[in-house]
């Protein structure tokens, strides 16, 4: 486990030292705060707009961290960094799991920061304290990093470097669109349930009804199970890959 956390820690440090991450966070907070001024343009819908904007930006931030991971593993393989690490007593599976955990930790931390920032801005704007349903919605977004990171790791190992980020983004779009795909007649025949159903993590902001912590726990467990499946597949492929 130490080895896995050593890899996760190096991934975390890598992303922490990227200036673009801080710029991204700043942009998110500015955009959320600017929703205060929506009452000028909207018909008194600025409060739901701020909630929607915060959830969308939170989701986008998590997706961006995951997409960044799709660059990380191929880059390390190409530059020989992975080769240096894999000549230590570190299994290939441990390497992948470490990368996945590093991505999850980073995405969750960024998501939590955005959540805290949103609630501070929300409280300053409307004087309302934390609503449980909203908190669940944001934490579900953070939890969606678990299956998304696993998909990113799987695609990083499976696909050529050039197309991995694009196909990962497309796959995530499909995963977020599960309910629409399943509702359509055509989708039912093509969607085999291979992709994760990220709709499970999409707590519709308009419902404002708490689904409860048991639902949250079940969804997180589902995300972990899916990740184990995806990482097992990635490990099987990676085991036989020549590391240049």
């Amino acid at each position: 486990m130490n080895e896995v956390m050593a890899i996760a820690g190096s991934t975390w440090r890598r992303i922490l030292r990227m200036k673009v991450v801080y710029f991204l966070l700043l942009c998110v907070f500015v955009l959320i705060s600017s929703a205060i001024n929506y009452d000028v343009l909207s018909l008194q819908e600025n409060k739901p707009l701020m909630i929607d904007v915060s959830l969308v930006l939170n989701t986008l931030a998590v997706v961006l961290v995951v997409i960044a991971m799709t660059f990380e593993i191929p880059r390390e393989l190409r530059e020989g960094v992975a080769a240096t690490l894999l000549t230590k007593p570190l299994g290939r599976t441990q390497y992948l799991v470490g990368k996945c955990i590093g991505s999850i930790i980073t995405a969750v931390v960024i998501s939590v920061l955005i959540t805290i920032g949103f609630f501070v801005i929300f409280w300053l704007s409307f004087g309302e304290s934390v609503v449980q349903s909203l908190l669940e919605a944001h934490l579900l977004v953070a939890a969606s990093a678990i299956p998304m990171s696993a998909i990113a790791v799987l695609f990083s190992v499976l696909l050529p470097e050039m197309i991995t980020p694009i196909l990962t983004a497309i796959a995530l779009w499909f995963a977020f669109s599960t309910s629409r795909i399943l509702d359509s007649g055509v989708g039912k025949y093509f969607y085999g349930g291979v992709l994760p159903d990220l709709d499970l993590f999409n707590f519709k902001s308009f419902s404002m009804v708490s689904a409860g912590w048991p639902y949250f726990a079940l969804v997180v467990i589902w995300g972990i199970v899916f990740s184990v499946f995806a990482l097992s597949l990635a490990s099987l492929i990676f085991r036989f890959k020549d590391i240049k």
Binding site: N2, E3, A6, I7, G9, S10, R13, R14, R17, E76, E79, G80, V81, A83, T84, L85, L86, T87, K88, P89, L90, G91, F240, D242, I243
Partner: protein, 314 residues
């Protein structure tokens, strides 16, 4: 203790062996046995398969055929890597990490006890003379500095086997001398060393055994002094034996006057000269000292590679 630190049986690697890719054989039935207590030099022209061999031993790539063992364990045994130190050709490290951070990650992966990590990292940085750069980011290092950090991470766990792929590349003359000293220090500490290098003079200086690879085939392998044939000998004549010197000077291929008044003469192999020296020695036992002259490793290397080339043409 295992008899062989490295053993391969018919080790083969063919790149692109799937049906839709062009087959490129890189290693062909390599059979190698390297005993304990050896500094082994693995030589060969560019593209011979040296790096492929090392990558197979480190389980970075999978063999197409055959098998290999390192320290008595199959190469895919992750646990054996705890006893190995490896320096790749052109090491690459995460550029955003500082030197001590990177070595700390390596220490964790090598399962060095947490209470010993900082001390050991400081020790290896001192050995490779990079202590003052411990808190500098690896991305800002020159080629030589990166190579030194590479050596540091390779010796971090006091390995039983050190595998070095072109360790001297990128080092300045002082750095090369430092690394040669490190290798000799490691040998004194009981570490086995396996390394590839193109700098044959350095290989000749420190290696006990060498193997020469050419186009994936092992041309020869053995104890260095046995492999290099004797091309002549040197005779150091002490002062006061001018009669002997005059007898031998005509057959000498080279001569040097020594500061003490004696002579250092070089000869091609000659029974006549040996006869003169033997009979003189019977009467004057301490008048002369003889040393064999062997062909250089470089000459031997070129001879073997040329022979291999001729055989292939035939």
């Amino acid at each position: 203790m295992e008899e062989y630190v490295i053993k391969t049986e018919n080790l083969t690697k063919i790149y692109g062996h799937l049906f839709w890719k062009k087959k490129t054989p890189s290693l062909d039935n390599l059979n190698l046995e390297i005993p304990q207590g050896t500094i082994f030099g693995f030589l060969g022209p560019n593209g011979a398969g040296k790096t492929t061999t090392i990558r197979l031993l480190m389980d970075l790539i999978k063999p197409t055929g055959g098998a290999a063992w390192v320290l008595g364990r199959p190469t895919d045994d992750v646990r054996v890597k705890q006893r190995i130190g490896y320096l790749p050709d052109g090491p690459a490290f995460s550029p955003y990490l500082k030197a001590n951070e990177f070595l700390m990650i390596c220490a964790k992966l090598l399962k060095i006890p947490s209470r010993d990590r900082k001390k050991r990292i400081a020790e290896v940085l001192e050995i490779v003379k990079m202590s003052e750069h411990a808190n500098s980011k690896l991305g800002g290092f020159s080629r030589g500095m990166t190579q030194r950090i590479g050596i540091a991470q390779a010796i971090l766990n006091k390995p039983e086997l050190l595998i070095l792929d072109e360790p001297l590349i990128g080092l300045d003359p002082q750095g090369r001398l430092d690394l040669m000293n490190i290798i000799e220090m490691q040998k004194e500490a009981g570490t086995n060393v396996f390394f590839c290098s193109h700098i044959l003079s350095d290989v000749e200086r420190i290696c006990d055994r060498v193997g020469i690879l050419c186009r994936g085939h092992l041309l020869c392998c053995g104890i260095l002094s046995d492999m290099l044939s004797e091309t002549g000998f040197r005779a150091v004549i002490h002062p006061g034996h001018d009669v002997l010197m005059q007898q031998l000077m005509a057959d000498a291929t080279g001569s040097t006057r020594l500061p003490d008044g004696g002579w250092d003469l070089a000869f091609a192999s000659s029974e006549k000269v040996k006869g003169i020296i033997s009979s003189y020695l019977e009467k004057n036992p301490e008048s002369i000292a003889c040393f064999p002259i062997r062909e250089s490793l470089e000459d031997y290397f070129f001879r073997m590679v040329a022979q291999a080339g001729h055989q292939e043409q035939q």
